[in-house]
Symmetry: C2
Subunit: 446 residues, 2 copies
Amino acid sequence: MCVLGESRLEGYHGLAYRKLVEAGVNVGDTVEVSFGDESFVGRLMPRVESDDDSVVTIKLPNGYNIGLSVVDASVRLVSPAGGLHQQPPVEEAVGFGAGEYVALISTGGTIASRVEYETGAVRPALRASDLMSLVPELEGISRLKTQVLMSILSEDMKPAYWERIARAVYSELEAGAAGVVVAHGTDTMGYTAAALSFALRGVDRPIVLVGSQRSSDRPSSDAYTNLLCAVKFAKESFRPGVYVCMHASTSDPTCAVIPGVKVRKMHTSRRDAFKAVNTRPVAFVDRDKLVFLDESSKGYVVGGGVVFKPGFSDKAALIEYYPGFSLDILNWLAEKGYLGVVLAGTGLGHVSSELVDGIARLRRSGFLIYMTSQCLYGRVNMNVYTTGRRLLAAGVVPLGDMLPETAYVKLSWALANYPLEEVDGVMRSNLVGELSARSVYSGEWT
Amino acid sequence: MCVLGESRLEGYHGLAYRKLVEAGVNVGDTVEVSFGDESFVGRLMPRVESDDDSVVTIKLPNGYNIGLSVVDASVRLVSPAGGLHQQPPVEEAVGFGAGEYVALISTGGTIASRVEYETGAVRPALRASDLMSLVPELEGISRLKTQVLMSILSEDMKPAYWERIARAVYSELEAGAAGVVVAHGTDTMGYTAAALSFALRGVDRPIVLVGSQRSSDRPSSDAYTNLLCAVKFAKESFRPGVYVCMHASTSDPTCAVIPGVKVRKMHTSRRDAFKAVNTRPVAFVDRDKLVFLDESSKGYVVGGGVVFKPGFSDKAALIEYYPGFSLDILNWLAEKGYLGVVLAGTGLGHVSSELVDGIARLRRSGFLIYMTSQCLYGRVNMNVYTTGRRLLAAGVVPLGDMLPETAYVKLSWALANYPLEEVDGVMRSNLVGELSARSVYSGEWT
């Protein structure tokens, strides 16, 4: 938790600081930076740590941040921020009533990162409080309680961290947050969204993961819009469950809210990289409105509230099948002590028929084997072709339209929280929307 | 090679045969099958082997096949096929001039399969000649020389078979075919398309892989349209290269022709499952027209014609990274004698930073490691984040916008055809369009 809004020229020093002081400008004020004929008007943003002390960052009216060197520029105050910084948007949660605030938990990632200007590379650095100072509009949506739980690159996420995040979210819900926003790197955000979905099954409030594809102090960062939309959904939707909230398209500041077990990062760099797979987003959000696409589901409420099971095992694996794939890999996993594997097979859920006998042996030895499809869209159906039926007979458990990555996370979770003999039953059951009786194909991929 | 068109009631026996003989109907004729008030008019199709001798298969005007039990139905000849079966559409290639015909090589898969009516399951069975008798319209497009090279389930495809197919295609080109169509199961068609692309680099004619998502004697099979379009493209496009030709959408009989190194099966069951990833189809085809989207590329012609390198190694692997992934898997691959691995990392091309030192050790020992993205769309860029730069320093080779599956096939091919010290250079080079300088994003996935 932290208090924001005290510094008036956060992060600025050197030339930029002097020019801003001369102009009588504070962070949050609207300023004009002029280069001869050309000028830019926008809100002065706090400056992220940098060796280059000649640059000021302003947020343009379209929500983009832009960094401008003031070496040859003049700076002019257009209008002060007024009361904006008199009432800091973040306060100690002491005194917040239950449901009056959103808890924002930062785990790291690009949304919480700064550019190293000397290299152009990105490192995690920002605290949750910094995020919020980038989006003063949050004040109009909700009081916020912030916490930096960890500060890691999202590719470094692992099952043990899923548990830490689940515990932190659970604590915030217990303490009375209206909803929880988890700032997370995008690389593995889908996996963590699935992990929280299982760990906090039956949750009665929204848990929203949010990230950005471009760091928050770069021009064209999506951090601003995504964070605004995520907090809005957490505070105003009253929709139970775990979701990812990210840009819905490249062209407008609307975010899609997608169920955490049916979301996948489908592009390396586009702002609208996150797609609902075999389902639709539950809602679209922008700064002004919140539109539900799917009113039917009210979440997976379990009698008696949240079933909190935060553990994850490291004895699960995810393996994609390909022509030339050798059974040796699965045998090695079993020998190494792995308890089960999720296969991403071909098409409707196949691997080479040459592997069937070996797979049957592995199953008889107690090694668990689940089938998903590397197609990602659609669902496995192992009754159509001979090989599928032989794999079923060998004990492979088909997982319908479950994403391979979601199935892997679920297996890791099931192994940590249920006796081994119950894991097949858990995997076959639809607990939080991960396994649809019939898939709703979004038009997105067509 | 085979001669078609001699049998007039191919595959029919029992009740259906008797009713057809009574009605004076031959395969290819237009018939009416009536059930009291309801009747169906269409062209009588040859009957695929089945225990149920009461069913006739007719092709409706919309191109769909439908199976009708004639136990309580009457059958009437509407109009005879005329000369259709007097001039068999398939002939011995003896006497065909170079460029006058398309070679059709069948490898198995659903397009060459029949339904087991007793179980509803599908087994490979049809010969190439049977395929063509299902599509008499092929006669108007091209003379055809057919061959059943193998009859396998596509999930059983493996690198050694890629070589057999490559050799068969090469022979047909040497013999003078205008183009080659390869009938193939859909599960692994993308992998084989990539394999032929590399094995037959510099080919001067079209090689078109075609399959079907529903078997050719089922109602709503896509075999008819796909085969028609594939043969048309092979004969009429004069476009060098290896392509996949499959339904472009669910709603009309148009096929998309997609480069073999940029195609992926992205749905388990839809007819339009094959998508161009990080590129666009080169053309759309239907029975009446052939429209090029991309006139710019004339294929990857290498001076002196095709560079025929049909070998593939089984010492390559494809591994998807996930949170909790252990370096042990890579160490085991190296110990087991694998020469290299294609990683499908997260986002722009990452794995956990905890793995970097171990990966550097593996590289120093001579084990080859390549990076693609599990996002599939977009391209790896390992200069943006610290972990990416550390992985580059460790010797990981980034593969741009190459699909993980294409990269795996290319590695298998490179290991079999180049000295180990040249493989990195081969993998980094764009040989047949697998690695674009800049990706063209189709609108398909948005």
